[in-house]
């Protein structure tokens, strides 16, 4: 923490699954702080109203955890189609968030699960909504802070998750959609549809209004998402697939 406060430009590295690829392409990326030995941040705890997951918990550990399977099947489903076994064994939940890729599988899922993150620095700890952490493409508001844990409130919900990409396995998403339906209404988010992970507020409003039509969904989606065309997929494809996934989610969750 002291080192990070003196050198906020240093990159925290744990599983190294993203940093290694950057190192290969850029060769130099300034300094790295290796935090992979901090076992005290590897845990999954059930608290009275929350599941608290340490930032350095690997995707494999989350996937295998009975509490996650029981209370957070949406998170388990996303972890099940996350990269490959070898990468799930290294990659961490905190790393997937902090890397802030628009294609990060778990940020969208955690947003619809109303997750908060506990941040630590030399000044102490604070808790912020995950949604307030991202501020741009691969950009977070983390400065001299480290993610310590991800906290997910235990709330009854039905869910939908689907991810699509160029292949079935070891897939970087072209589009994914995560939907949770609570007694108070819908929460919707997705990957690769915006420069960074956000909730789809206009769409949620339409879904919660009780008068839903294809036109309204299309209009809300157009306001909520701004997919770029990239080497992985075109803008039009992403818009169309997001719409189709949403229709599939409605069919499942309204049934």
């Amino acid at each position: 923490m002291q080192l990070l406060s003196e050198h906020p430009d240093l990159l925290l590295m744990c599983g190294n699954t993203d940093v290694a690829v950057r190192l290969k392409k850029q060769k130099e990326i300034g300094g790295i702080i290796d935090i992979s030995h901090l076992d005290e941040f590897c845990y999954i705890k059930r608290e009275p109203e929350t599941i608290r997951i340490g930032a350095l918990t690997t995707i494999s550990d989350i996937l295998d955890d009975e509490k996650v399977q029981r209370y957070l099947p949406l998170l388990a489903a996303a972890c099940g189609v996350f990269a490959s076994r070898q990468i799930r064994n290294l990659a961490t939940l905190g790393g997937n968030i902090a890397n802030a890729s628009p294609a990060a599988d778990l940020s969208a899922v955690l947003l619809v699960l109303h997750a908060t993150v506990t941040l630590g620095s030399v000044e102490g700890e604070k808790c912020v909504a995950l949604e307030d952490l991202f501020c741009g493409y691969k950009c977070t508001k983390l400065d001299h802070e480290m993610i310590l844990s991800i906290n997910i409130p235990l709330q009854e919900h039905k869910w939908y998750y689907r991810k699509t990409g160029a292949r079935e396995r070891l897939n970087i998403s072209k589009v994914s959609l995560a939907v949770a339906k609570y007694s108070g209404g819908y929460a919707v988010s997705g990957t690769s549809l915006n420069p960074y992970a956000v909730r789809f507020r206009h769409l949620e409003e339409v879904l919660n209004s009780g008068s839903v039509s294809d036109e309204k969904i299309e209009k809300a989606l157009a306001e909520d998402i701004s997919p770029s065309g990239s080497f992985r997929s075109t803008r039009e494809y992403r818009m169309r697939v997001a719409f189709n996934m949403l229709k599939e989610a409605m069919a499942k969750l309204e049934a």
Partner: protein, 147 residues
Amino acid sequence: MQITCTINQKNYSFESEPQQRVLDILRDHGMLSVKEGCGEGECGACSIYLNGRLVNACLLLAPQMQDAEIVTLEGLQKETETIRRNFVEAGAVQCGFCTPGFVLRAHDYIRHNGSGNITDIKASLDGNVCRCTGYQKIAEAISKSIS
């Protein structure tokens, strides 16, 4: 920096640059089953066990080896004998470059009580790529190693 670890149950202590990849360090120490394919964690040719978990050595840097237990295919000759024989008999090897990674993944899968079902086995091979034979014969070889 000084690195101390075990590789295939032998103690090692050596000097390394912190940005050196574990893949290169292992090959420099004669563990030639650890291959470099893609070099970015997609192909699984550099699969090794790090503290009992199967990972890609190309994604690991030297400091992550500190105090670790590393096992490569060289250290599992006896444990993988049946798997390797079945790979040969099923014709699951063509150029052979990806084979050490597949054999280790098969070992990992069987160790964790994976089923003999071909569809499940193919799904389990999500982190390993073969560009010659395809996956059917590899999956059959693994299935035979379970039954």
